[in-house]
Symmetry: C2
Subunit: 393 residues, 2 copies
């Protein structure tokens, strides 16, 4: 395969670390040109010493001295601040950029890579949720390919590869149902943080683990799929599939369904994102169908997991609504992880913020960023008010 020069944005997170493994497993294919991280300079420096990028950037400016110290004498360029991350995303001489930054912070770096016409391996849902219309339009304008890395969207991407959009009847997003699938909602108030973060199938970061527990991940994935594949939300369904062997499916107009399956290892969609339209071998074991035993399917429970419905609601409303959904969710999940609000409050605050938002129908990027900021403030106000009132519940 032709050498691929890549940048990994968010290299110290769960996806980023897997991407480093992929790059190290295929040293003859991948040349890592740049790495960025939010603030974990120890891991970032270790990675840089292993894969020897031309450039590293840390978003948190207060960490630049520590990072520079760890990389003294290596000749690797060290920068800091969000704009340095954006510059790394858009650096010269690069084929593919993996966007593995969590949350809305990925938006400007992702757009930077798109505007350089790169292959953008997109492991971040929020960029498409917030600004899917703009991401699509810019990718078309600059000739960039957006290849999803999310296991569900990578699956759909693989099922759709080489087919025509008019042949699509439905996208079937599968979901394991998350860690709370079998736990009655009456118990949700008494769950420990560990129970909520303990995903049954995938090893993931804390933000995504909470999204999986609320099923907001599927709500966001509906919106992401709508933009990635240009399919109306009415043609996107969620199917609960606890074994997580099928990563998602497409039904075509003749009733034929294609499904992508695999072991639950993110290295497969990561390397596909970076090498598309080529594929690379892996050292992973083949899926053992006999060992699997059985695959099962269930309907999602919208009463138990209202966040899933918020996804449809925001997608159907359109405009700034998905950005608000995403921002309110990020704020609430952050507050939950900080111990500021209980788990069951997440959906309630999101609902309230979404209901109060005045939608801008055809938002520019500035409108989206403003809606995002306002939604975070608005969400914060809810629990601040509750704290004043003497408690959160």
């Amino acid at each position: 395969m032709v050498k691929k020069r890549i940048v990994i944005l968010g290299s110290t997170g769960s996806i980023g670390q897997n991407a480093i493994k992929v790059a190290e497993e295929h040293r003859r294919v991948f040349e890592v040109a740049g790495l960025t991280a939010q603030n974990n300079v120890e891991i970032l420096a270790q990675q840089a010493l292993r894969v020897r990028p031309r450039r590293v950037a840390v978003s948190d400016k207060s960490k630049v001295r520590a990072l520079a110290g760890l990389l003294t004498g290596t000749g690797i360029q060290v920068d800091a601040g969000p704009e340095a991350v954006e510059q790394t995303a858009a650096m010269d001489g690069v084929d593919a950029v993996l966007v593995a930054i969590a949350g809305a912070a990925a938006l400007l770096p992702a757009l930077g890579a798109i505007r350089r016409g790169r292959t953008v391996a997109l492991a971040n849902k929020e960029t498409m949720v917030m600004a899917g219309a703009i991401m699509r339009a810019e990718a078309e304008k600059y000739g960039a390919a957006i290849v999803p890395v999310d296991s569900e969207h990578s699956a759909i991407f693989q099922c759709l590869e080489g087919r025509r959009p008019e042949q699509i009847k439905r996208l079937l997003l599968t979901g394991s149902g998350g860690p709370l699938r079998t736990i009655p909602s009456e118990r949700f108030d008494r769950l420990t943080r560990a129970e909520i973060l303990n995903h049954p199938r995938w090893k993931m970061g804390p933000k995504i683990s909470v999204d999986s527990a609320t099923m907001m991940n599927k709500g966001l994935e509906i919106i992401e799929a709508r933009w990635l594949f240009d399919v109306p939300v009415s043609q996107i369904e969620v199917v609960i599939h606890p074994e997580a062997v099928i990563h998602s499916m497409v039904e075509f107009i003749d009733g034929a369904v294609l499904a992508q399956m695999g072991v639950t290892d993110m290295r497969i969609p990561i390397q596909l994102g970076l090498t598309h339209p080529d594929r690379l071998s892996t050292s992973l074991p083949s899926l053992d169908f006999v060992g699997i035993g059985q695959l099962t399917f269930q309907r999602p429970d919208p009463a138990k997991f209202p966040c899933l419905q918020f996804g449809y609601r925001a997608a159907q409303t359109g405009g700034t609504a998905p950005a608000v959904l995403n921002a309110a969710n990020e704020a609430c999940v952050g507050a939950f992880l900080e111990g500021e609000i209980p788990f069951t409050r997440i959906a309630k605050v999101i609902d309230a913020v979404l209901s109060r938002h005045r939608v801008v129908a055809q938002p520019a990027l500035a409108d989206l960023l403003e809606a995002d900021a306002q939604a975070r403030q608005e969400a914060g106000r809810f629990w601040a008010a509750e704290k004043v009132a003497g408690g959160v519940s």
Copy 2:
């Protein structure tokens, strides 16, 4: 969609009748130019009156008068004999030819269509089993597309569409396990014909139903897949999947698996074969994943179903061996259906015929036809000898 002018070879069989339904459901798409049948002139004439082809042909010459009588005054040209079937396969002004003739009798008509550069929707396993190398070479020479209609191979075809051959790791042929999957082999001697012909998932003709009971169908499908997709048999595996929801799968070098699923209705692969690379909508219900309940997988049992192994053996031997396997099987299944030999004798006779055959490594078409004829004779000699000896067992 652009109008497709089609010929249906074997229109009175199970696949042929489904093809007529497809043509009638999509009258604006399909124009039926020709129909052929072996001897069922009543059904053939009814079909001709419904879809109004330019030409019909019956293979059995003794039926031509009856057929002509049934179509008097229609202006439809009526012919008889195997060469008339071949001429219909190669008739002018046709886009796609569905080859739904059972057994080796399909070979010359299929080659006729290939040599006219048609899209050949191939519902017949035996042509590829007997003469896969020649079919491939001729299709390449004359620019014909061979689109498999067998549900398994259609599934693999759909999974491979738009991908590169070097990305393939394994083809995974699924099989329901047939009507005898849960019946202990000690009981095979006492099975009724009805038990053997009663396939759990698909409605099929008697020949294919017996092949499903012996699992020779999978043995033949391995060889068919080897030639259709140009993949070595060592990369083709059989997985038992009793629910028959997954119609087959492909594993790629990175471990990703694509599977094609659907309701068990042959109209989907038939119309895909006739319209490829387009797809047509159907009135069939969508696959109901929640209603399915579960999908399970098992390893096939080679001791219980030796015919499966004969498929690998013949494929690995190559040359005339697959044609001999197929001919011996057709002869034995015919004899079983006529009540001449018991079910358990099928595998034993095939084994003996295959073992005695002297393989021609690079056979021409004449060598294959001769090997086919000899294998049938040889098989017949076994039960003739046994009858003389006083019984079959």
